[in-house]
């Protein structure tokens, strides 16, 4: 390291660190960290959830905010990648000093953030991830309003008799969410003596599934369960139609955004049925119809696609739950908010929100149960059967 270059390097570092250290003092707002995939394989869903969260925050601030202070959402992109999710979580906690988080959308992404919650003792509201591991691993800082795959499976079991499934194949995305769903549904099917055939998986950003679909076409199952994000789902439907796959298709996970399927997969989407946790097509079915209509109106006013509603309600419910917790905690402090979560009770668009203890004793996580619908697409329209 010769004399001259070290001078330059020293100067460069001092300059940069000086600029950083003098960050402006935090204003009076209460910061809430939001971690969503805004790029990468799950970009569409992550954007919808963030927009839903923004509507909730604006609504709350318009009504005077929380504890007299405005809520400020600090939204970070985890790029649909676990390591990025962990690093933006650390940035939100350490740098932006947020007392509470909402996020990470995909199960692998949420699982990546969880060690940071333990390390910095900051609670997080899980709005979408459905892998059971999240609430059974024993992380007391996790509060989930989306149903784990096991609950989804039991919910689905109620509707199984009218579907008369003989044998089912699976085509799932190759991560915690997909594999978790296949696992839970297989167990549930066996309990209802329904035979399980192929379990094919697809990489998160794979676009050409014609090989897997050709294999499934050759199998003798009568139903195909598909679990993945909406972008990949449209490809699966198009390629299934292209292969002439004549089979009943049911999608799980609640992130399928049926309207976008109709728009992009066209006729290919007809005859398929989907598990959903919110039915914007018929707001009266929601636990809070008035608020559901208001939310749908606000969503349309902002010019967002109607199709995104089945995803964005999660962000909306999530922020309202956090606001309720902060109000109960009395101060924007992580520990207080964490205890307050256990006493929160409100009616979300997706059903009543109340956290009961789940997971190993002493290290329980919060899990709230919500409604489940099975909707069908018939000649281009979503039909919500009276469950």
């Amino acid at each position: 390291m010769t004399r001259r270059t070290s001078g330059v390097a020293g100067l460069a570092v001092a300059l940069l660190i000086g600029a950083l250290a003098a960050r402006p003092e935090a204003q009076q707002t209460i910061k809430v960290g939001v971690i969503q995939p805004l790029t990468g394989a799950f970009a569409a869903s992550g954007t919808y959830v963030s927009n839903g969260a923004r509507i909730a925050a604006d609504e709350i601030n318009a009504a005077g905010g929380v504890l007299g202070r405005k809520i400020e959402l600090v939204v970070e992109d985890n790029k649909s990648n676990p390591t990025e999710a962990a690093s933006v979580a650390e940035k939100l906690i350490v740098r932006d000093k947020v007392p509470v988080l909402m996020g990470a959308w995909g199960s692998s992404l949420t699982l990546a953030v969880m060690p940071k919650l333990m390390e910095y003792q900051v609670p997080m509201l899980v709005e979408t991830s459905s892998s059971d591991k999240i609430t059974t691993i024993g992380n007391p800082f996790v509060f989930r309003i989306s149903p784990p795959s096991s609950v989804e499976a039991t919910g689905f079991a109620r509707m199984i008799d009218q579907l008369k499934i003989g044998k089912a194949d699976f085509l799932v995305v190759n991560n915690d969410w997909g594999l978790g769903t296949a696992d839970q549904f297989t167990r549930m099917f066996k309990a209802h003596n329904i035979k399980v055939g192929l379990v094919e998986n697809m990489a998160q950003n794979a676009q050409d599934m014609s090989a897997q679909l050709a294999k499934i076409k050759a199998s003798d199952a009568d139903t195909l369960i598909v679990t993945t994000a909406v972008e990949q789902l449209t490809l699966v439907f198009k390629q299934a139609a292209a292969l002439g796959l004549k089979r009943r298709i049911i999608t799980t996970g609640g992130s399928q955004v049926p309207d976008q399927l109709i728009e992009q997969a066209g006729g290919a989407a007809n005859g398929t049925s989907h598990i959903a946790f919110f039915a914007p097509w018929n707001p009266d079915l929601s636990a809070d119809p008035a608020r559901a209509r208001a939310f749908i109106a606000e969503w349309k006013k902002r010019g967002y696609a109607f199709a995104g509603l089945t995803e964005s309600f999660r962000g909306y419910d999530g922020i309202r739950t956090i606001a309720a917790a902060i109000t109960k905690a009395g101060k924007p402090d992580a520990a207080a908010i964490r205890t307050a979560f256990w006493t929160v009770e409100l009616t979300g668009l997706g059903g009543k929100i109340k956290f009961n203890k789940v997971g190993p004793a002493g290290m329980e996580s919060g899990q709230s149960i919500c409604d489940i619908f099975l909707v069908r697409i018939e000649n281009g329209k979503v039909v919500v059967p009276k469950a």
Binding site: A206, K215, K217, A218, K238, G244
Partner: protein
């Protein structure tokens, strides 16, 4: 048996556009010895161009494809003129670093202009496939194959039958002598890069509607194009065509019978194996274009 037949059809349909990617790169790589990292971005640019023409400005789908190819040609010419012409004579590593810089700029510009969310292109083709016996294939993919074959034939004629083609082949074999014979080498390089980029844009324009259009779709296409070029031999248009179909077949069979997860690894396995056994590519007439 019909599953095998279906895989074969899938492979042939995909092979057409893979060949386009390969031919485009083999021209650039073969003639200009440039390891073109922006090839994938031209592929993505072609897809976005079709999306822009069809979705935002309502142009007819069949018109949008040639327009996208033309846009690809222009962008390729611009990249060559701005970045590669001043680099004439620089060693291969330096040009490669410039191309990596260009790749980063192009991909992130697409991210800003179009956003991270994947786009879908609606096409006038019916959803219900053409069914022939046990095999069925969508009309859109057949159109993509047909159009690709048309472009491949066109390129073949251009290279082997036209004056420009002759000049390109001369430049490929020995640019100094070609220059002595009055060939304007700089113009040939710009033209070659433009044609190569146009073909990549064409592949993107054809596969965009079949799959989805998103900013990082080019990365994999770039690496697959390299696999095809190496399989077919540097600068060998016929080799690239065969290489394109071969890669599609290996991928489809691998995904069908080995494991779908390793589909994309087939291309890279080919690169490593071929380079270590026969660096000049399987179809040994590597050093000749056409």
């Amino acid at each position: 048996m019909d599953q095998l037949l279906q895989h074969l059809v899938n492979a042939v349909v995909l092979g057409g556009t893979y060949a386009l990617l390969g031919i485009g790169l083999t021209l650039i790589f073969g003639i200009m010895r440039v390891v073109n990292f922006t090839h994938g971005e031209l592929y993505a640019f072609g897809a976005y161009a079709v999306y822009w023409f069809v979705a935002t400005s309502g142009v007819n789908f069949f018109l949008a494809i040639p327009l996208a190819i033309a846009a690809g040609l222009l962008l390729g010419a611009a990249v060559e003129y701005l970045l590669l012409r001043p680099m004439r004579g620089a060693d291969i590593d330096t040009t490669m670093l410039v191309m990596i810089g260009a790749w980063i700029v192009m991909q992130n510009s697409e991210m800003i202009v179009w956003g991270g969310v994947a786009k879908s292109i609606t096409t006038p083709f019916p959803e219900s496939p053409l069914v022939v016996g046990p095999v069925s294939v969508s009309w859109l993919r057949l159109f993509a194959l047909g159009f690709a074959l048309l472009l491949i034939a066109g390129t073949y004629v251009l290279i082997n039958r036209t004056k420009l083609g002759k000049a390109m082949r001369a430049t490929f074999q020995d640019s100094d002598t070609a220059a002595l014979m009055g060939v304007n080498i700089r113009a040939i390089h710009t033209a070659t890069f433009a044609i190569g980029s146009g073909l990549a844009a064409a592949a993107g324009a054809l596969l965009g509607p079949v799959f989805l259009v998103e900013p990082t779709m080019g990365d994999l296409a770039s690496l697959k194009a390299f696999a095809i070029v190496i399989l077919g031999g540097l600068g060998n248009v016929t080799g690239a065509t065969i290489g394109g179909f071969a890669l599609a077949l290996v991928e489809e069979m691998g995904a069908g019978y080995v494991s779908s997860g390793y589909r994309d690894a087939m291309g890279f396995a080919i690169i490593i194996v071929v380079l270590l056994i026969k660096p000049t590519g399987l179809f040994a007439r590597a050093e000749r274009v056409g």
